[in-house]
Structures are given as structure tokens and as C-alpha cells.
């Protein structure tokens, strides 16, 4: 009897041991074993999406992808870490000691050495035939036109997870559209690592990023940049911008600004150069603002082109005195002559005729004090002071463009309204967004509102044509063309007062006056050859305009 009991007990013990062991393997270690098994028989990798291109209006790429490589090392496969470090450090431009230290860290089986290595460096490293050195493809942005249009393009850097991310300009604004969505492949694999066709497979295709087609014309962009560079050297300016827009659509044809940077090597440049000053920096527009105030007054019938005023001397506004820019007073002046001679005294008369409420209202209607809505990441807008904080001297100075801060884009758009029968347009960089399946979304031009009537716009255009033909800058004007424009010379505010010597010289205009194909604003900061817009920004404007007439096939009128 005891023998039966003993054998039975033995069986029970053995059975219990088996159950406990099974419990351990299936329940306690189940998850880790499942993971190990899955790693042995399943493939799981990312299908990276490629970033979309940024194309100029003619379809040529301004930003596209090229193939670069991530260079990594597998320390366990390296024969001599010291030799390895000595050979690759000079090629990758790394410190030998740093590489040695990274590779010698215990427990590391995979060490990234350098990201986005270009083709020639990759070939050199491959030629070394080093064991333990590996490469993985990674995309890198390529700019066929080099650093042209850097400010409007932006650049591609990395986010906190090391993934590509766009910053500033179009790369920043349209980062989600350009980035696309990575895919994934999960499949069963055989012992050689090849996928099993009849096995389980789950594939989510990558959605490549969408491409952007811009309004920007690369030839016009190049003309603007070349002429701006020449102009800045000739006039000794510290900074400069040229912005060109199609007034009928709001499409930006070119945006040039210096100093600039190279988007491929952005980290080598000062961060202050990353922001596009045309949308992010402010300035006091000076006399260029007069065309808007006069346009408003014409629209309100407060004045006509023939209305006269007496310019007998400086005018008192409260405790302040407003003088003309050259301290010359011409007696009886029509409104056309006020614009032609850029009379500050004349503009104070116009502002008083228009009245405070209407002047402030028109300033807002022309789009100042608010964002334009352009599709660039870093747009900023200075705020306008509250209506109750406008005193008589503020109205007077605003009438000739001082004491009010604007961005170059706001100024360009506002004058563009005069070129477009009084209609204010939303400025746009992108005219079409294309996906890789050939589908495209057209971004239609957007009319905001009509600021002034078409009559007032036409009369103001003629006054601006007169200003170009008979004003201070007439010597630089291309013959045979009707160009509507206005010079501006604004003093720069420094610590609560205006600097006597430093100015921002500008010229804004559109052509041909009867059927404008472009509106352009040129600004030069602190030109040293002459402080006046008529002697610096105006000739630069006309130099660009000459090229544009040829390129666009606009004959003399």
C-alpha cells in the first residue's frame, strides 16, 4: 500500500513541477518570449516618406531632396578601434579622441558617427573598406539655386527627436504638408531574413510629402537679388530688401533681402539672419505713405487732384512745427504738386481735411496693424496705437509716414491696392499644392476688400506717374514707360528721438501704370552715399524695373 502511495506522490510532485515550469514559461516569461520569437520571425521597418519639393512658377525646383548617408559604427566588429578612429576622423572632420571615446564606451553595439554625409565623403569612406563601418541612407535638402531665395524658403533642421523639421519661410509654414507620413512594413521572414510571400504581412505605404508650386518666378527673383546686391554695394547700405508682387492676384513674384544665409549650412550663420525682414521687420515708411493718405482723401472727396493749399512756410501742430524735407516752400500747391514735391506741409493739410477718424480707419483698411495672412512662418505685425491715443501731432506725422511702423509687405500690399482698382489682395507665396498621385489643389487669389474706389485709385495712379516723371527721381526713370511711384526717406527712431544722419531710403511703385504687371518696394537701410530715397532706392527700383520690362516683354507705352 505504501509503495502505491509513494509512487502516486512522486507522480503528483513531477506533475506539479511541470505545471509550475509551464506557468513560468507561458505566463511570467510569456511576453518576453513572444517578443523574442517575433524578432526572429518578423520584419518590422519604417518606410520613410520623402519630403515634398518647392517649385518655382515654371516648375523648376528651388528645394528638393538628395540622398545623404548616416555613417555608423558597430564597435564589436571593429578590429582596432584606434586605427578605425584615426582613419575616419579626418574624413568626417571629427576629433579622433572623441570618436575613440564613443567607440570605447562599454555596452554600445551601434554608434552613430555623422548625419547627412554627402556623396563624395560617402564614397571616400566606402573606399576605406573598414569592418564595422556602416551606412544608412537619409534624405537631405538640396537647393539647386544655392542660397537664392533663402529667406522665403527657410531651412530644414531637426526636431527634438532628431526628425527633419522645417523652420522659417515656406519650409516652416508648410512643414506638415511637405513632411508627408512614414509608412510601415510588418512581414514574416524566413531563416535567411527574406519575407515569406504566403506569410502574414501588413504594409502601410508611405505618403510622400506634397510639393508646393510658388508664384515666385526664379528669373525675377535672381534679377531682384543681383540688383539689390549691386545697389547695396553702390549706395553703402547696411541692409536692403526688394519685394515684388502681382497686384491683381497677390502672388509674390520675388522677395530678396540681404544680409541673408545659406539654407544648406544655416548653422554657420547668425540666427538673426534667419528671419525674413520683409515680413518680420518693421520700419517707418516715410513719404511713400503719402500716396495712401492722399488716396484716402481723394476717395472721401476731401480733396481732388486740383485742390490747392498755401505752402508758405512750416506749419504748427500743437507745440510742434512741421517743415518740408528741404525747408523750401513753393506757395500755392495743388495736391498733384504736393505729391510731386513730397511736401510734408501739404500732407498735414490733407490729413486735416480727411479728419482723424477717417484717417485711422483708412490706415486700418489698408491692412496696417494686422497680419497680411501670407503663408510664411515668421510674419509679424506692429500694432497700431489705440484710437484714443492719436493726438493731432500723430495724425500730422502719420500723414507723411513717420510715427507709424509697418512691415515692407504691408506697405507693398497697400500700394498694390492702388494698382488693383482699390482692391486689397491677400499676398500668397503658394499657388498650387501637388501630391505624388498627380492631384493638385489650386490656391485661388483672395480679395480682401476694396479700400478706395476705382476712380480714386486711377487719380492717385496719375499723381504717382507725375511724381515719377517730374519729381526728384525723374533723372533715373527708364524712358518711354509710365511708372507710378513715390520716393521715401524716413529717419530712424533711436532711443526716443530720430537720428539726424541715419535714414531708411525707399521707393514704392507699379508699372505699367495703365495695366500694372507688378508692384515693387525697395528699401535700403542707412545708405551712406546719400540718405535720400530719390538718389538710392529710386534708381535701384528703376534698375530692377528695366530688367522686368525686358523679361516680361513689356514694351514702352
Amino acid at each position: 500500500m505504501w509503495r502505491i502511495t509513494t509512487v502516486f506522490s512522486l507522480y503528483v510532485c513531477l506533475f506539479s513541477i511541470i505545471v509550475i515550469r509551464l506557468f513560468y514559461w507561458q505566463i511570467i516569461s510569456g511576453d518576453s518570449l513572444r517578443l523574442q520569437a517575433s524578432q526572429q520571425y518578423s520584419l518590422d521597418f519604417l518606410l520613410p516618406a520623402s519630403r515634398g519639393d518647392i517649385l518655382a512658377s515654371d516648375g523648376s525646383p528651388l528645394a528638393m531632396n538628395s540622398t545623404a548617408h548616416l555613417v555608423f559604427a558597430q564597435p564589436k566588429e571593429i578590429e582596432s578601434i584606434s586605427d578605425f578612429s584615426a582613419k575616419i576622423s579626418p574624413v568626417l572632420d571629427l576629433e579622433k579622441e572623441e570618436v575613440l571615446s564613443d567607440l570605447s564606451t562599454p555596452g554600445r553595439i551601434w554608434v552613430p558617427l555623422s548625419h547627412k554625409v554627402d556623396g563624395s565623403t560617402y564614397e571616400t569612406l566606402k573606399g576605406l573598406n573598414l569592418k564595422g563601418l556602416g551606412f544608412e541612407k537619409e534624405p537631405q535638402r538640396y537647393y539647386p539655386e544655392s542660397s537664392m531665395a533663402a529667406h522665403l524658403l527657410g531651412f530644414v533642421g531637426s526636431d527634438q527627436n532628431g526628425r527633419d523639421k522645417g523652420y522659417f519661410g515656406l519650409e516652416g509654414y508648410y512643414d506638415r504638408e511637405l513632411r508627408g507620413k512614414d509608412g510601415r512594413l510588418q512581414a514574416e521572414k524566413d531563416v535567411r531574413g527574406s519575407p515569406i510571400v504566403i506569410g502574414e504581412a501588413k504594409r502601410v505605404e508611405a505618403e510622400n510629402g506634397r510639393s508646393l508650386v510658388l508664384w515666385v518666378d526664379r528669373t525675377i527673383q535672381r534679377i531682384a537679388e543681383e540688383k539689390l546686391k549691386e545697389g547695396m554695394t553702390k549706395y553703402g547700405a547696411k541692409e536692403g530688401t526688394v519685394s515684388i508682387m502681382d497686384p491683381k492676384t497677390g502672388g509674390i513674384l520675388a522677395m530678396a533681402s540681404f544680409p541673408s544665409y545659406d539654407p544648406l549650412r544655416y548653422s554657420a550663420f547668425d540666427k538673426v539672419t534667419y528671419k525674413n525682414p520683409i515680413v518680420a521687420s518693421t520700419y517707418e515708411p516715410g513719404s511713400t505713405f503719402k500716396v495712401l493718405v492722399m488716396g484716402a482723401a481723394l476717395n472721401e472727396h476731401a480733396v481732388t487732384a486740383e485742390t490747392t493749399m498755401e505752402e508758405s512756410g512750416p506749419v504748427r501742430v500743437g507745440e510742434y512745427t512741421v517743415k518740408t524735407w528741404n525747408n523750401e516752400y513753393r506757395g500755392t500747391q495743388t495736391m498733384t504738386e504736393v505729391i510731386r514735391h513730397s511736401s510734408n506741409v501739404g500732407m498735414v493739410f490733407v490729413a486735416q481735411k480727411l479728419g482723424k477718424e477717417k484717417l485711422i480707419s483708412y490706415i486700418r483698411n489698408f491692412g496696417f496693424g494686422q497680419l497680411t495672412g501670407i503663408d510664411l512662418e515668421e510674419e509679424a505685425s506692429p500694432t497700431l496705437r489705440d484710437d484714443r491715443q492719436w493726438y493731432s501731432i500723430d495724425l500730422a506725422t502719420a500723414s507723411f509716414g513717420q510715427g507709424i511702423a509697418v512691415t515692407p509687405l504691408q506697405m507693398l500690399r497697400a500700394v498694390g491696392a492702388l494698382a488693383n482698382d482699390g482692391w486689397l489682395m491677400e499676398p500668397r507665396m503658394v499657388k498650387e499644392i501637388k501630391d505624388t498621385n498627380g492631384k493638385s489643389v489650386v490656391v485661388k487669389p483672395k480679395k480682401i476688400h476694396q479700400v478706395v474706389g476705382s476712380n480714386a485709385a486711377r487719380v492717385m495712379t496719375e499723381m504717382m506717374v507725375d511724381a515719377v516723371d517730374n519729381g526728384e527721381a525723374k533723372w533715373a526713370k527708364p524712358k518711354g514707360y509710365r511708372i507710378a511711384g513715390k520716393t521715401g526717406t524716413a529717419q530712424i527712431p533711436v532711443a526716443g528721438h530720430y537720428d539726424e544722419k541715419k535714414t531708411i531710403a525707399s521707393f514704392v511703385g507699379f508699372a505699367p501704370a495703365d495695366n500694372p504687371r507688378f508692384v515693387m518696394l525697395v528699401t535700403l537701410q542707412e545708405p551712406t552715399s546719400s540718405p535720400w530715397g530719390s538718389e538710392t532706392a529710386a534708381p535701384l527700383f528703376f534698375a530692377v524695373a528695366r530688367e522686368l520690362f525686358l523679361y516680361m516683354g513689356i514694351p514702352p507705352q
Binding site: 528638393m64 540622398t67 538640396y142 539647386p144 519575407p195 510571400v197 514694351p555
Partner: protein
């Protein structure tokens, strides 16, 4: 007649099962091991795609304004100093008018 056919069918049935079973095993084995070929095709597709991308890059680079300007300069072309505008009279306009006297 029908019974004969049925009897023959019953005898053949196990052989058909064995043959079909063998065919299934062979086909499955062939498909299971064709993953390697599939991978090679994928690698070839990637290589062609990469070549397309590289060529696209070369075209973009060669047709960039910077490259064209450099090429033009090396060929001795220069930017014009002064532009002259020549107006061509259309055919419909008379070149000379007869003047009655």
C-alpha cells in the same frame, strides 16, 4: 454502367487526394522560398528609383540659373550694357503714302 464509373471513381479518389496534397506542398514550398527573389526585386526597384532621383538632381543642378549663368560666362557671353528697343512696323500699316497734288 453508372456503377462501373462510380467504382472506378472510388478507387481513384485516394490517389487524387494524394496527388493534390503533394501539389499543394510543392506550391507552398515554392512560394515560401520565393521571398528571396521578391527581396531582390525590391532592391532592384529601389536602385532604379534612386537612379531616377539622382538624375533628377543632376538635371535640376544643370538647369539652375547659377549653372546657366556660369556656362554662359565661360562661353564668353556678357550682359548687355544698354538696351535698345526697336519697334517693327506691322505689315498692315502702309510704308509710304501717296500724296495727291
Amino acid at each position: 454502367m453508372i456503377r462501373t464509373v462510380l467504382r472506378k471513381g472510388v478507387r481513384l479518389f485516394p490517389m487524387m487526394v494524394i496527388l493534390l496534397g503533394l501539389a499543394n506542398i510543392l506550391l507552398t514550398n515554392h512560394l515560401a522560398s520565393s521571398g528571396g527573389e521578391l527581396q531582390q526585386i525590391d532592391v532592384a526597384i529601389d536602385a532604379v528609383r534612386q537612379e531616377n532621383e539622382d538624375l533628377r538632381l543632376k538635371i535640376a543642378s544643370a538647369s539652375s540659373l547659377t549653372a546657366v549663368a556660369a556656362q554662359a560666362e565661360s562661353m564668353g557671353l556678357t550682359t548687355p550694357g544698354k538696351t535698345q528697343i526697336v519697334t517693327l512696323v506691322p505689315e498692315s500699316l502702309p510704308v509710304a503714302l501717296g500724296y495727291p497734288h
